[in-house]
């Protein structure tokens, strides 16, 4: 525990690092930002990718498989946006179809069976909005993940590395802990979408971003995220983040593995159950 505390996570009182909410949003989408597969490559040893949901197909917007975190076998499920234009198109810009959520769930069930912890990596503007996504039950696929993840009998940590777009992000974020990179965000709606619905003016996204309280720091304050991971000033220094995450994840899983499963599930339930309860009791 001491070790974790001493690592350079976000300093809450550090106002010099305060930034406009929309600048964070822009940073989360910036070109050249590491994507899901970069994290897998740098965190996981001997990663083996497994494809397909065994129901319909294989969603290229999601990379899932097994590997080792240090010496610990883990399941990793990562949304992938791609870097080049060609790759981005192939990955559907990180927007998953229902088969992506079902692929994720399939891998989580395997993790449960074999007692592996699960790392979910979220980076999406949202679950895909399209005819086929609806036909194949986008809502149902996400709903099933929310239900099943709540009682999955193995530790889950979800890492937000960029965009955290609404239900599409939540479909992989019913976890014991939610960790966010400093420049990631997590919101019920994109600031642009919010501005155009509320004020009929998408250019008011800056105001919307502030109002929605979507930055990593906000989310920690609101009790949605457990950790905010400080990012280096230079993109090249991302190695530091990977080293830090490797240690943090390893220690967190070691800790939660010692916990009886029932206790782990109770804590996971309570993490979400408490949000909004206070308000109700206050009346």
């Amino acid at each position: 525990m001491e070790l974790i505390k001493n690592l350079p996570e976000m300093d809450e009182g550090d106002d010099a690092r305060r930034m406009d909410a929309y600048k964070r949003v822009a940073a989360s989408r910036a070109k050249g930002r590491p994507t899901g597969m970069d994290f897998i490559e740098n965190l996981i040893i001997d990663f083996m990718e497994f494809h397909g949901d065994r129901r319909y197909g294989d969603d290229p917007a999601l990379v899932a498989g097994v590997g080792k975190l240090k010496n610990m076998p883990v399941t990793v499920i990562a949304m992938e946006k791609g870097h080049s234009t060609k790759e981005k198109v192939k990955r559907n810009f990180g927007s998953m179809h229902p088969e992506g959520y079902r692929k994720a769930l399939r891998q989580m069930k395997l993790a449960e069976k074999f007692g592996r912890p699960v790392i979910c990596i979220v980076d999406t503007s949202g679950a895909y909005c399209g005819i086929q996504a609806e036909e194949r039950g986008q809502g149902q696929a996400i709903a099933e993940n929310l239900m099943e993840m709540m009682t999955l009998r193995t530790p889950i940590i979800t890492l937000f590395i960029g965009e955290g777009g609404s239900g599409g992000a939540l479909g992989m974020a019913v976890a014991d802990q939610v960790w966010m990179l400093e420049n990631s965000f997590y919101s019920v709606i994109s600031p642009e979408g919010c501005a155009s619905i509320l004020w009929k003016d998408a250019s008011k996204m800056k105001e919307a971003a502030e109002s929605l309280r979507l930055t990593a720091r906000d989310l920690k304050e609101l009790g949605v995220a457990e950790k905010v991971i400080r990012e280096p000033e230079m993109e090249k220094d991302f190695k530091k983040v990977y080293y830090l995450l490797e240690d943090l994840l390893y220690d967190a899983f070691q800790k939660s593995k010692k916990l009886p499963v029932e206790e782990l599930l109770e804590q996971r339930y309570e993490k979400f159950r408490k949000i909004g309860r206070q308000q109700a009791d206050g009346r």
């Binding site: 609806e134 986008q138 809502g139 709903a143 239900m147 019920v188 929605l212 906000d218 949000i275 009346r283």
Partner: protein, 293 residues
């Protein structure tokens, strides 16, 4: 010169019954009270409001399901006098100080006459006790904020403790964006409560009504053991306008309607509002723990 229309056959007034719009009728007969007639948006027919009410808010001509008020729906479906409301006083506050939210809440309370977007409680249907929730489309489009999430979670926990089945009617525009991330978290919270109820071997039935979309579709609406839908109800994750904007093409006729979901395998059955009570009674009887004689 001949007067225009001289040779036109005088119309029998009865021929027009059901053809004139409500507006025309009001112009012709200003003495008729405004709420006496209704115009069906589906078949364009005009009919006595009373006839529609008698028919559970369903058009007697074409079967179109009108939107109805939450308390009216409860009256149609629940055994008279059986309903006992839970958490009736719970009401939202502006937790993240979202601009304009206080005002919106106030007007939603005024318009709907309800405190929040869902009504929960215990009741009986055909003599079978159950826990019920009814979402309220008149309250900020049935959007789910922390209070809606809390009430839903509580009704499932209450039902799990007392071994009651849950039957819920959904209508929602999705998560309530004025509560930011806190409303998104309600999807996880409610799903967790549904799972715990389910793991106790208890029945959960959802009836999806027009429209059920967004975060509610992607959580408890789609988590029923049995999922029913009203005819013609719009059911989807993304709203049709958002999809059209994303893919830049028109959506096919009937897309995201209840019949479409039935065909695609996401709804167990479409049940007309008039038949729901009897349908649910049979369903509850089949799942009843008591031995039926």
């Amino acid at each position: 010169m001949l007067k225009k229309g001289l040779f036109r056959k005088p119309k029998n007034q009865l021929e027009d019954y059901g053809k004139t719009s409500v507006r025309e009728m009001r112009e012709q007969h200003p003495e008729v009270p405004d709420d006496m007639f209704l115009s069906c948006p589906a078949c364009k027919g005009t009919m006595l409001a009373e006839d529609v009410n008698q028919n559970c808010g369903v058009c007697p001509k074409c079967g179109h399901h009108f939107k109805i008020k939450v308390r009216e729906r409860m009256e149609i479906l629940l055994d008279p006098g059986s309903f006992a409301e839970l958490d009736a006083e719970m009401t939202s506050r502006n937790l993240i100080e979202f601009p304009g939210y206080d005002k919106k809440l106030q007007s939603a309370r005024n318009v709907s006459g309800e405190k929040e977007g869902v009504v929960c409680g215990t009741a009986a249907i055909g003599g079978f006790p159950c826990a019920v929730f009814f979402m309220n489309g008149d309250f900020m489009m049935g959007s789910m904020g922390t209070v809606v999430g809390e009430k839903i979670a509580r009704i499932f926990e209450y039902a799990a403790e007392r071994q009651l089945p849950v039957i819920g009617w959904t209508v929602s525009g999705g998560a309530r964006m004025q509560e930011g991330i806190l409303s998104l978290m309600q999807m996880a919270k409610t799903s967790g409560a549904v799972k715990r109820h389910s793991d106790r071997g208890l029945l959960y039935v959802t009836v999806l009504t027009d429209p059920t979309t967004g975060g509610v579709t992607a959580s408890f609406a789609m988590e029923g053991d049995v999922i029913l839908a009203e005819p013609g109800a719009l059911i989807g994750f993304a709203g049709p306008r958002v999809i059209e904007q994303t893919i830049r093409q028109k959506l096919p006729e009937g897309f995201q309607r209840a019949e479409f979901l039935l065909e695609k395998g996401f709804v167990d059955a479409i049940v007309k509002r008039q038949d729901q009570r009897e349908y649910l009674r049979s369903l509850l009887a089949l799942h009843s723990k008591e031995v039926l004689v």
